[in-house]
Symmetry: C2
Subunit: 350 residues, 2 copies
């Protein structure tokens, strides 16, 4: 899934160049390239599909040159994760009714790649039993930016558990309760199931989407694909897979995982995964010089020099077109800054 | 005088493009262009000379296109203000032994142009009496970055006073004493005298410089000018006019002036002259957006967008090549930052 905009990563992430296409960690690989490589260990490359917005097709082809054009499914508009997953599920199901799907966002960070493979193998096994499976991440803090999955704790040490409830982003008090209870894991947004199980779930819980895709299996695999998906998306509901299916389905299992995961949803979440200097500063950029700075994340592009003095607990991000300085504790305001820029008509900057 | 580097205005001012050539206020005029225009009201344009470093000759010619090449005196190396003034004084004296000189830095701010003209007229009158004259600025704060001029207070309300002492940059306690006493004014670095008086002063107080220039009056006005000045500068002392002459001379007068002056020596001194918003922020730049910021000076170039949140008492300056963020109260550290960059070999940035 590579259709998101990543507005909370502004100004590095822009609508015209979202975060999955950025080498945010400065490792030489973009997030989608890292995601692609992660799945190469789990399935043949010709079985990897990217679902993205029409606008990003050329970016995908450029960054994943091994991909054939037919492996890039283009959405004509943004409809959240449920239609995105439906598109892939129904299309692939026509090609192979016994297919299994591993569904993952393209803009997440996973540091423990071997552990990820192991968790995905367990998830595939469980999916073969005809259930929906999700990867749950052991929470390390009462994060209010994530959804939580409560599982049925039967006192055993199995890594695969039956899911009791999905919970949307909680407030801090509730998140702390979840953390303390021990039977709530973060919802990673990574799902595994057979295409048949997924289609059954759409038929049962999101029938309005099912009835759009189900009659068009063949067309989604033929020359009329673009026109077909355009017609479907024109009338399709905008709904997330979590809200539309996972929260309602009864046959969901979670694999308890420890894979060094972050959704990189915010600059702050990136900060927690970076190497820090002795003053807890994270420097991404070649020419960053800090004096009397602490707990600060700095990101500069290419050769740009940054000399910063006297900043405590800030995020500083500089691109060619825009500079952002914001208190790390206030970074949820970035979304509003972006909204304000759009309202001013400064769309080119966002 | 347009040979300075302006390192305290880094990163906007660079060795290759110093502050006098910048439109720091965003008015459409660079500082040297404003200075030139200011003197057009006081003397014919063919009588205006710019003394600058060889490296900046093309910048001067570009920014002051009305100037003829012979009006730009090029220094082969940096030798502080005394040799700079000597060069002009001896050269002009050969052309006209009755000449009067108004000597001014090209990178200062003067907001009250009419008052400046009036003060300069008084200074010219006084200079005709065979004395050295300086413009003194009524101090508004105990600034430790300026030199001070103490005058003889004879209880009258004349604007022209005899100078008692020149004082180098004082410490804060002394500066406060100067401010309280009422008979100390800031040394603006703007001087007026006849060339004859100036040459006499060199002969008396800086004879080592006098003996270099005095035999070469003709050569400084002929085809061998460049070679001559090169020979002189190769052995000439590096000394300021204040230290070399003004502090020693007995016949110095000061015109008490109120001309809206700043030497723009630092970002902080610029800040005190800018229009502030309701949170005392000064914004120089088209696309600057501030949230919960106060007492902060922001300078962006061209179209660059800056979104800043949660900054109190900072200086933020962004150029194409470098970003500086520094506490306004710590801006004296900029000089050290620049020194450190040079030590790292990052000369291109400074």
């Amino acid at each position: 899934m590579a259709g998101g905009i990543g507005s909370r990563f502004w100004p590095m992430s822009k609508t015209s160049f979202p975060k999955q296409f950025l080498d945010i960690l400065g490792t030489g690989e973009t997030l989608i390239q890292m995601t692609y490589r992660r799945f190469l260990a789990l399935c043949p490359k010709e079985n990897i599909y990217v679902v993205t917005n029409d606008d990003y097709k050329s970016l995908v082809m450029e960054q994943l040159p091994e991909m054939k054009e037919g492996q890039v499914l283009c959405e004509p508009s943004r409809r959240n994760t449920a239609p995105c997953i439906a598109y892939a599920a129904y299309k692939i199901h026509f090609q192979n009714p016994n297919a299994r799907m591993m569904i993952a966002p393209s803009d997440h960070l996973i540091l423990k790649e071997k552990a990820f493979e192991d968790s995905m193998s367990l998830a595939l096994e469980q999916a073969d039993k005809g259930t929906l499976v999700t990867l749950g991440i052991k929470p390390s803090r009462p994060d209010t930016g994530y959804g939580y999955i409560q599982f049925v704790d039967e006192g055993d040490d199995k890594e695969v558990k039956k899911v009791k409830t999905f919970t949307e982003k909680p407030n801090l008090e509730l998140a702390q309760t979840f953390l303390d209870s021990g039977d709530f894991y973060w919802n990673s947004g990574i799902f595994v199931s057979t295409t048949q199980t997924m289609i059954n779930a759409f038929a049962e819980h999101l029938n309005e989407v099912h009835v759009l895709f189900e009659p068009k299996l063949k067309e989604l695999n033929g020359p009329e694909e673009a026109e077909t998906i355009s017609d479907i998306y024109a009338v399709c509901a905008n709904v997330s897979i979590d809200y539309g299916i996972m929260e309602k389905a009864k046959n969901v299992y979670v694999v308890l995982s420890d894979i060094g995961w972050s959704d990189l949803g915010t600059w702050g979440s990136l900060y927690t995964h970076l190497k820090l200097d002795e003053n807890k500063n994270a420097k991404l950029g070649k020419n960053v010089r800090l004096y009397e700075c602490s707990d600060t994340l700095v990101h500069s592009q290419k050769e740009k020099l940054m000399v910063l003095q006297g900043l405590d607990d800030y995020i500083v991000v500089d691109t060619k077109e825009a500079l952002l300085v914001v208190k790390k504790s206030e970074e949820q305001k970035i979304k509003q800054f972006v909204t304000n820029l759009k309202a001013e008509g400064l769309d080119d900057f966002v």
